[in-house]
Amino acid sequence: MAGPTSLIDYYIPLYSWVREGQGVHTRINLTPSLFSRDAKKRFRAVIRLYAGGRTAVLTHETEELGLNRALRLEVAELLAKAGRHEIDGLLEITTYRLGVPPDKPRFLESWCDIWSEDGRLSVSIPTLPYMGGKQVLHSKSQVMPGVASRADLATWVLQLNPTGRPISFTLTVFSAQGDRRQSPRLRVAPMGVYLERLDRVVPDLEAHLRPGGGFGSLLVEGDYKLMGYTLMEHLKGNQMTCLDHTAFFYNA
């Protein structure tokens, strides 16, 4: 694989959740023009997929990208090249500019669309730098106002661990009145994903949140920083169309 000659040529890696199999699909969208007006800038990206281990299960180098050249990659097609059909893990994108070192910003934002064949699931998730770039998720403590547990709504917690060691964390849910209820200590494997419905790990959540109409605030406290997201499932409509990242403690 022809690539950059030194580490400094690389952009900061970006991470995202990727899921393929059992009727769920992921598409990767790469659009370098988000950070460039220069038609002469040419980029190439190396895409790696991890499934809970430190070794990538797939490495793929893209064709040349540029201002007028965007790219869509179906994860199913990438996996087929590696003889796999399913994955629930991490996507890592490392971009580099062909011929010249990277300029600011040192990453190329890209998006993943994740959807299911039955139409129940349809979400988009931005890829984010874990360190050194956009400071979206830079704290060990994360917040998500508006998590829900009631007859028509349920919240799922998604945590990504783009490091080579396990990270443990707790989930604390505050009711609208400020009372708290906590999960046991949970754990994300190296280069792994944690996905669970909130009311399955925080005991008696629906009763806890009932005084606030079923809504509360989530506090995630890790022993190291994690990339946090929540999904909202509309149980009555049988739809999951909401996925967004948590907020960090700005001044912590």
Partner: protein, 334 residues
């Protein structure tokens, strides 16, 4: 040309129009743009070059730009300490002069944090705001006081209020209730602004756009006017058929009109449609992609990317995909 220094340099007619004066003749960059960049955190010549392109070509303005930086960067960091240091160096009277001459917004030294989002109230989509005020063991929460306002699509303020969130409590606000309180009939869409006079901590608010069968949520945004990226905002999920349609909410968080271009291109760079969008100050718009492009692209195929020009102005860009069959919305910020 130099900056006024000392009491003998009371602003002259030419200096009072400094904001409109072109400092960098190569790129026609005005004093207002340079001060704006300093105001937003540029601390070095390199920062200013990156943010505004000033002093990057003939370099004729470099000396003057460095003079501006030396004088105003310490004061522009928005902290009380920065202001105190600046006053010690230049004297109190210079604050008055700076406010008058450069139209400094003194509210910044009260450290307000402005957050904003686009909101909608109609039969198919309702909006709920949720804001936390949590503490950490080493950073206990305090009462959070904030003021808020609603602006309609033309940018006119139609409602304002103040409230408080106790530590660890959650603020839940339904836009429908605010509109009822303001005597506004729905459907209605516009901007929600929040001003918080404290550090953020956990005080971020998220937005739920929901109906009987779906709920989609994302966070608000800071209305900062720095040019963060030099490229284009892009949206890869552009669909418009009998069942699905992408809708775009654009909100101008600036006190100037916002003019931009949207372009639809295929993955290999062929233009399929373009349109010009103009928003009034603090105004907003929400439309389906078909309406934006006036049916220029009758077949919204699967290989289209939407490009939105990204000038030096604070805007918000959310998109929503409506599944007509299920009545569900999927939304996300860009």
């Amino acid at each position: 040309m130099g900056l006024s220094r000392g009491p003998e340099l009371t602003p002259t007619a030419s200096e009072t129009s400094f904001r409109d004066e072109v400092i960098c003749v190569c790129y026609r960059i005005t004093g207002a743009e340079i001060l704006g960049a300093i105001n937003e955190g540029a601390k070095s010549l390199e920062d200013l070059q990156h943010k505004t392109r000033v002093a990057t070509r003939c370099m004729g303005c470099e000396v003057f730009v460095e003079e501006l930086l030396a004088e105003f960067a310490p004061m522009a960091d928005g902290s009380r300490q920065g202001l105190r240091r600046w006053i010690r160096r230049h004297g109190t009277w210079r604050v008055v002069e700076a406010v008058r001459k450069f139209r400094w917004d003194l509210r910044k030294w009260w450290d307000p944090t402005r957050l904003a989002t686009w909101v909608s109230e109609e039969p198919r989509m309702h909006t709920r705001l949720v804001m936390a005020n949590l503490g950490l063991p080493d950073q206990p929460a305090r009462d959070a006081y904030f003021s808020y306002e609603l602006r309609d699509e033309e940018g006119t303020r139609v409602h304002k209020g103040r409230t408080r969130i106790r530590p660890n409590q959650l603020w839940i606000a339904e836009i429908a209730a605010m509109l009822r309180e303001a005597g506004i009939r729905t459907p209605w869409a516009g901007l929600f602004f929040l001003e918080l006079p404290q550090v953020l901590g956990s005080r971020r608010f998220y937005v739920h756009w929901y109906n009987d069968v779906s709920l989609t949520s994302t966070h608000e945004k800071y209305p900062v006017s720095r040019r963060k990226h030099e490229g284009y905002w892009t949206l890869s999920k552009v669909v418009a058929d009998d069942r699905f349609e992408t809708h775009i909410a654009l909100a101008n968080m600036d006190h100037r009109p916002y003019v931009t271009h949207m372009v639809l291109m295929t993955l290999d760079g062929q233009v399929r449609g373009s349109t010009r969008v103009t928003l009034p100050p603090l105004g907003s718009v929400f439309k389906g992609v078909r309406d934006f492009f006036c049916k220029q692209e009758p077949n919204f195929r699967d290989d289209l990317v939407l490009y939105l020009d990204n000038p030096i102005q604070p805007i918000m860009f959310y998109y929503f995909v409506l599944d007509r069959e299920r009545g569900a919305w999927q939304g996300q910020h860009l």
